[in-house]
Symmetry: C2
């Protein structure tokens, strides 16, 4: 856990940050906030690797072409990707992203919230980069029958910060807001993706009413993004439960004596 061994704040350890970005318009507000965040990191001495998915014309489609030694046989996606990863025959664009991720201490994932999730191009980054054998699917030597996931895996030690721009107002993403409480709407990404592969998330940054910001509101949003990216290492991560250390029973449900009255996504927070 590199980030837990930082020295005093006078002597901050520098981070390698992978910034994954998806927006089709170069002069968008979302892009302007990205530039602010990257400037803040760079000025503070951190290294930033940018994957600007639209600019890269990232291919979001999982198919047999992902595996350069595609045999033409019936495609089992998970197994084919594992074999390709292990034999070094994954498509080079996927390997390049994995290498960036390997070098990263932190990942910033930035996108406009489209239909309550990532734009397709970014979902396709997750679908293609997080292959079996690399991000999941490794047996846990200490827990026979289980794999290393939800808190444990080679990607653990890294942290993620999700930055979303949202058209609607904040109240509609609150605990009883009509669009759904934001951290629960993002559960498939924060828990089901990052935490699954061992990456702990700090609470996401959301910029609301992003289509209607005044200059002053933009400055506030830019300040928020700058502060949050600079404090990734110091911010408490979302306390999702670990899979393999007692919180879940053998059928992988929350142990009955823990939060006994809670069902739904809230049951998976340990605090």
């Amino acid at each position: 856990m590199i980030l837990d061994h930082r020295q005093s704040s006078q002597e901050e350890k520098t981070m390698n940050v992978l910034w994954v970005f998806a927006h089709p318009e170069r002069s968008s507000l979302t892009a302007a906030l990205r530039d602010e965040g990257i400037a803040a990191l760079t000025e503070a001495g951190h290294e930033v690797m940018l994957s600007d998915l639209y600019a890269m014309k990232w291919n979001p489609i999982v198919d047999a072409d992902n595996f350069t030694e595609n045999s033409g046989e019936r495609l089992h996606v998970a197994e084919a990707s594992k074999r390709a990863y292990q034999s070094g025959t994954l498509s080079p664009d996927i390997r390049a992203e994995q290498e960036k991720l390997d070098r990263a201490d932190a990942v910033v994932f930035q996108f406009p919230l489209w239909w309550f999730g990532m734009p397709a191009i970014m979902k396709g980054w997750v679908d293609r980069v997080f292959v079996k054998g690399y991000a999941y699917g490794i047996p846990d030597p200490d827990h026979p029958g289980r794999t290393l996931r939800y808190g444990h895996r080679m990607l653990s030690g890294k942290r993620a910060l999700t930055v979303v721009t949202i058209g609607g107002p904040e109240s509609t993403y609150g605990p009883r807001g009509i669009n759904g409480q934001l951290d629960q709407v993002l559960f498939p990404l924060l828990h089901g993706t990052f935490w699954y592969v061992g990456i702990a998330s700090v609470p996401p940054v959301a910029v609301y009413r992003s289509d209607k910001l005044s200059d002053e509101q933009f400055q506030d949003a830019a300040r928020l993004v700058r502060e949050r990216v600079l404090s990734i290492a110091d911010t408490e991560t979302i306390p999702y439960r670990y899979q393999n250390y007692g919180d879940y029973t053998d059928d992988l449900t929350v142990r009955p004596d823990l939060v006994p009255d809670v069902t739904g996504l809230a049951a998976h927070y340990s605090a």
Copy 2:
């Protein structure tokens, strides 16, 4: 609400069904279940339109090329898509899908659950087809300051059935299962997408441990899919709250006297 005016079950009204399908492998279990479902519908006299996204090489990317009269100006996605929709200059592949949707009484949305959501190619069907002016963004004449959404919109009257194939076991998607209660994991699709544009969902069909089904288990799954597609019109839909009929306050949070102790996604069910 066409589907509420059916005659007796001896004299079923036929449905037009749009089946949107995403899987890269033609001989997959997911594809075999699709074939079963389509056969059941066709044998019963229903019409099926199939959008097989991989076979169609569907383009999942929202960008300026979606709008055939792209002006080269800064792209505001929602507004550009609305103008293009209204002026008939949306990309022809998008219009073709909208025309199928217009003819459909019911939509079947079938995919393998990848990272707790749709494969990128299918997310890109949603991102591109449900444009402003077509699927949302129309002012509600009866409720000044609000738009027609969450239960109300031109797409209302239609029903959706989501069919997902899932590698893990059922217990892990239950109320306290580690992967998250399935209907809440799918909230961005069932509530945030379908219900948002006025399409009511019947409860999804999930086929668990889909990588490991015996022949007998496959037959069970096929029977389940056949039954569920044939009963789309008769199945109770998920009772999400309507936006504009009293359940939400002016700031679009659930009225304080309704389920006062509930927060999170469960607050948006009226029963």
